[in-house]
Symmetry: C2
Subunit: 196 residues, 2 copies
Amino acid sequence: MPRTVDVETRRRDIAAAVRGVLARDGVDAVTMRNVANELGATTGLLTHWVPNRIGLIRLALEETANEQTDRAVAVLLRRPEDVIGAMEEFMPLDPDRLAEMKVWLGFWALAISDQTLRAEQRDRYRDFRVRLTAHLRGLGVSAARAQSGTELAIATADGIAVAAVLEPEHWTPARQRRHLRAVIGYALPDLAPARR
Amino acid sequence: MPRTVDVETRRRDIAAAVRGVLARDGVDAVTMRNVANELGATTGLLTHWVPNRIGLIRLALEETANEQTDRAVAVLLRRPEDVIGAMEEFMPLDPDRLAEMKVWLGFWALAISDQTLRAEQRDRYRDFRVRLTAHLRGLGVSAARAQSGTELAIATADGIAVAAVLEPEHWTPARQRRHLRAVIGYALPDLAPARR
C-alpha cells in the first residue's frame, strides 16, 4: 500500500520540520511559511496536508509522542521491570529528546486556549496512565499503589523535563536521572530495587 | 514618591492585562495590540512602557513570580515548617493561581528560543533554590537533604502544576495537594510530620 506509506512518511517529515523550527527558533516561529521553507515545499502545498499552525503543532506532537511511546513500550518489552528506563525515553537526556520535549512545551502553551489540543493532551495522558498502571499491575503492584505511583511518576518526569529544557546547565542528564530514580523508588517501592 | 508608585501600578496593570489575555485567548493572543485593548490604552502608549511581546511576557512573569514569592515568604514567616503551604502558592489551586500558572507556561514556551527569558528563568530558579535550601537549613535539615529535597520539590510542584492547567478535571486541587504532600514528605522527611 504505497499510498499509506506516503502519508506516514509525509507526516514524519512535517513533524521533523516543525521540531527543527521549534528547537531553533521557538514556538512563535512555527508558522505555515517557516515550516514549508524547512520542508523545501511551498506554503500552498503544505496547506493541502495541514490546515494551520495549530494543526502543525498537533501533528508534530502526535508523531513525537507516538515515537516516544513506541520506544518506551520497547524498553518494557525487553525489561518489564525497567519503568525508569521507559520513562527516560520522554526525558531530555540527549539532543534528540531535547527537541522532542520542546514540542511538548510549545504544544502545552497553545493548548492553554485551544480545546482540540487540550482534548489531545487529556486523551494521551489518560492513555499513558492506563497503560502504565496496567503494566505495573502485571508486575504485581497493588491497584492503589499502581495508580498513585503512575500519576506521581508522570508528573515528576514532566517537571524534571521542563526544568531540563529551560536550565540545561543545572539539570544535567545525571541530575535528571537521579531525581527520576528517587521518585520512582519512592512512588513504586515494590519495583526493581536494584535500579534504585 | 508618586512617580514610583505610578510605575509600580502601571507594571501591575500591564501584568494583569497580559494574564487576562493569556488565560482567555492563549499565548498567541499576547500581542501589543490585544494587551493595549485589554488595558484600554493605545498600542503607541503601551510601546512607551514595554517594547514588544517578549517584553510583555517577561513583565507579566516578573510581576506574577514576585507576587507568588511574596505570598510564599509570608506563609513561611507565619509558619516556618509549612513548606507545603508555601509551595501551594505556586500551584493552580484556584482560578487566580491558574491564571498565574498560564503565565509560566506561556513564558516557558517563548523561553525555548529567547536568551533573555531563559536567563530570567535561570536566575529566578537559582534564587528559589537558594532561598528554600537556606530556609530548610534554618529548620535543621542537613545540607545534602535540603539541596536535593529543594530540587525535587520544585520540579514535582512544576510537573503537577503543568498537569493541572492542562487536565483540570483529573488534577483537582485535592489531587494536586495529595501528591505534593507525598513528595515533600518523602524528599524532606525531617519536616513537619503532622502535615503528611
